[in-house]
C-alpha cells in the first residue's frame, strides 16, 4: 500500500479544513523550514529527494529551483493547476480534498525561492475548486501561516488563486505565465527560461500541483527518506489517475516501480478490465504519450515486466515504449476502435492548438480531417501514410511541446495498430462502430 505521502490522510473527514489538517501534523513542515532551514537548505532537501516534475515532463524539481536568478529581488513561485491533459484528474482530486497540503507546499517553495507573492493558476472550469482553495487560504492567513512575518520568522508571503478560462495550452508553463499576465496563452520562445525571465519579466518557477504537494512530506522527513522510496531515477510516489475500461477508475498513489500488470489487475488498484473483457491498449501518461498494445504495456520488448516508472515505461524508446507523463492512465478493452479514440484526441489537439506555429495550427487540422475520413469509411491507404508524414512534420517544429503531443498519438497508433486503419479503408467503414 503506497498511500503514504500524498494521500495518506485523504479519507479523514474534514481534511479540507485547517483544524483537521493541523491536527494531523499539517504546517509543521513550514514551522520547521522557517525556524531551522535557510531557503537554500530547503532547496537542497528537494534536490536530495530526487522529486521530478509531476505535470508530465519529469524534470528534477530541485534542479529547476536551482536555476532561479537570485540577483533579481522580485521572484515568483507559481503553481500549475491547469490540469487539462486528457486522462489526468489527480490535481483536481488533491486540490479539492486536501487544499492545505498544496498551500503548505506553496509556502515552502516560495520561501526557498524567495517569492513574496505566489499564484495558483487553476483552469477556469474548476471554479468550485478555486473556491475551496480560497477558503483554505483565508484560514491559513487567519492562523498566521500566510501574510506578514509568518510565525515570527520575518518571512512574508501573499498567496492568490487565479482562474484560467478554457485553454489546454496554458498548462505549458510560459503560456501559463502569459495567461496570468492577462494575455492570450501563446507559449514564449525559450530561452530565456522562466527561471530567468518569467512572470512580469521576473525570475519565476512554475511547478505542478502534485510536485508542490509532495514538499511538506519531504521537508518533514528529509530528502533522503523520499529518495529511498521508488526505483532508479524514479524516486518517491506518483499519483496515477486511471480511467477507461477498468473496474475501478480513480486516483491511486503508487510507489514508483510497481509492475503495470499489478496496477491494472490488482483489486487494490484498477481491479481488472470491465465485464471480463480483454485488454487491448493503454495510454499510460495522458493523451500525449504513445499508445501501447496490451503485449507491450505489460512487458517490454525484451520480455521484462513493465514497471510504473519513468525509465521502464520509456524502455524501448518510442518504437516499443512510451512515457509516464502526467500519470493519466487510459485503459481500452477489446471493444475499442483505436482510430476513433485517436480521432477524439486529434480533435482535442486541433481545438487546443494556440495557432502560433503553422505546423501545429495546420497539421492538427489536417490530422483531424483525415482521421474523420478514415473513421467514416472514406479513407484511402495513402491517407494512412499521409498521417504518418504530417505527424513527422509537426513533431519538433513548434515553439512548445503541443506539436509533439499532437503527433505522438498519431504515429504510435499507426505504428502498433496499422492493420486496424487498413481495415477501415478496406471495409469502407469502422469495423467496431455500433
Amino acid at each position: 500500500m503506497a498511500k503514504q505521502i500524498l494521500l495518506n490522510n485523504i479519507e479523514v473527514p474534514g481534511l479540507a479544513g485547517f483544524d483537521v489538517y493541523r491536527q494531523l501534523g499539517g504546517y509543521s513542515a513550514v514551522e520547521k523550514a522557517l525556524k531551522d532551514f535557510t531557503p537554500d537548505q530547503v532547496t537542497d532537501e528537494v534536490k536530495k529527494s530526487g522529486l521530478r516534475g509531476r505535470g508530465g515532463a519529469g524534470f528534477p524539481a530541485g534542479m529547476k529551483w536551482g536555476f532561479i536568478d537570485k540577483k533579481n529581488p522580485t521572484r515568483y513561485f507559481v503553481c500549475n493547476f491547469d490540469e487539462s491533459e486528457p486522462g489526468t484528474f489527480k490535481d483536481r482530486f488533491l486540490g479539492q480534498m486536501n487544499p492545505h497540503q498544496l498551500i503548505e507546499g506553496m509556502i515552502l517553495g516560495s520561501y526557498a525561492l524567495g517569492a513574496r507573492s505566489s499564484y495558483i493558476y487553476i483552469r477556469g472550469e474548476l471554479f468550485y475548486v478555486l473556491k475551496i482553495l480560497e477558503k483554505a487560504i483565508d484560514e491559513a492567513y487567519r492562523n498566521g501561516f500566510l501574510g506578514e512575518n509568518i510565525k515570527g520568522s520575518g518571512y512574508s508571503l501573499d498567496l492568490y488563486v487565479h482562474p484560467g478560462a478554457g485553454a489546454y495550452i496554458c498548462g505549458e508553463e510560459t503560456a501559463l505565465l502569459e495567461s496570468l499576465e492577462g494575455k492570450r496563452g501563446n507559449p514564449r520562445i525559450k530561452p530565456p527560461f522562466p527561471a530567468v525571465v518569467g512572470l512580469y519579466g521576473c525570475p519565476t518557477v512554475v511547478n505542478n500541483v502534485e510536485t508542490i504537494a509532495a514538499l511538506p512530506w519531504i521537508m518533514n522527513n528529509g530528502g533522503e527518506a523520499y529518495a529511498a522510496i521508488g526505483i532508479g531515477n524514479s524516486k518517491g510516489t506518483k499519483l496515477i489517475s486511471a480511467c477507461g475500461h477498468i473496474n475501478k477508475p480513480g486516483v491511486y498513489e503508487i510507489e514508483l516501480g510497481l509492475p503495470v500488470e499489478e496496477f491494472i489487475y490488482s483489486d487494490e488498484y484498477c481491479g481488472g478490465i470491465r465485464n471480463g473483457n480483454k485488454l487491448k491498449a493503454v495510454v499510460a501518461g495522458g493523451s500525449s504519450v504513445p499508445i501501447l498494445p496490451a503485449s507491450l504495456i505489460l512487458k517490454t520488448a525484451a520480455g521484462e515486466p513493465r514497471l510504473m516508472s519513468y525509465e521502464s515505461l520509456a524502455d524501448g524508446g518510442f518504437a516499443t515504449g512510451t512515457m509516464l507523463g502526467s500519470g493519466g492512465f487510459i485503459v481500452m478493452d477489446d471493444t475499442t476502435c483505436i482510430v476513433k479514440n485517436l480521432l477524439t484526441f486529434s480533435r482535442f489537439y486541433h481545438h487546443e492548438s494556440c495557432g502560433q506555429c503553422s505546423p501545429c495550427r495546420e497539421g492538427t487540422g489536417w490530422i483531424e480531417k483525415i482521421l474523420t475520413r478514415i473513421e467514416n469509411g472514406r479513407g484511402t491507404m495513402k491517407d494512412i501514410d499521409l498521417l504518418v508524414n504530417i505527424a513527422r512534420h509537426v513533431e519538433g517544429n513548434t515553439i512548445c511541446p503541443l506539436g509533439d503531443a499532437a503527433a505522438w498519438p498519431v504515429a504510435s497508433a499507426i505504428r502498433h495498430f496499422r492493420e486496424e486503419f487498413e481495415e477501415h479503408v478496406k471495409l469502407q467503414r469502422c469495423p467496431l462502430s455500433k
Binding site: R123, D158, P163, E181, C243, N341, F348
Partner: protein
Amino acid sequence: MEDKNNITAFNAGTLALVNQIIKRYPEGRQKSALLPVLHIAQSENNGWLSSEVMDYVATLLDLQPIEVYEVASFYSMFNLQPVGNCVIEVCQTGPCWLKGAEEIVAHYEKRLGIKVGETTADGKFTLKTVECLAACGNAPVLQVGTEYHEHLTIQKADQLLDKWEAENKISHTNPYL
C-alpha cells in the same frame, strides 16, 4: 446589466470584488485581472460577452478594447454570441468517449430538438460539447456553470434535464459568489 446586449456598469458589490481582485497583482499589472473580470462580466451579462461589455471591461482595467477582444476570443469559456439560460457542456474527449459521451450528446440533441452548438427556441438551453474537463475517472461528465455532473447515464442525464427545466436553471452565475 438588464439590457441583453449593453452593459451599463457593475453594481457596487461587484465593483468591490473587481477592485479586490486587481489588488492581487503588482501595481501597473492590472491587466492580470482580465480573465477573472471577464468571467464576472460574462456571468452578469446573461452568459456572454458583447463588444459593449468588453469595452466596459477595458475601461475598468485601463486597457485598449483590442487587448480585451483578443483575449476573450482566445479562451473557450468565453461566449462571444448570446447563449441560453442554461448552457450544458458535455465532455467529448477520449476517456469520456470511451464511456459513452456520444450517447449522452445524442440523447440531449433529441430531447432538446437542437444540434450541438444550438440554443432552444425558448432560449432556455444551449448544448455544447467541450474538451477534457479533467474528471475522466467519473466519465462521462458534463458541466453546467460551475457544477460538474459525473458518472452520467441516459437516466441521470434525463433527471438532470428535468430538474433544470423545472427550476428554470440559469448557469451563468457569478463564479466567485
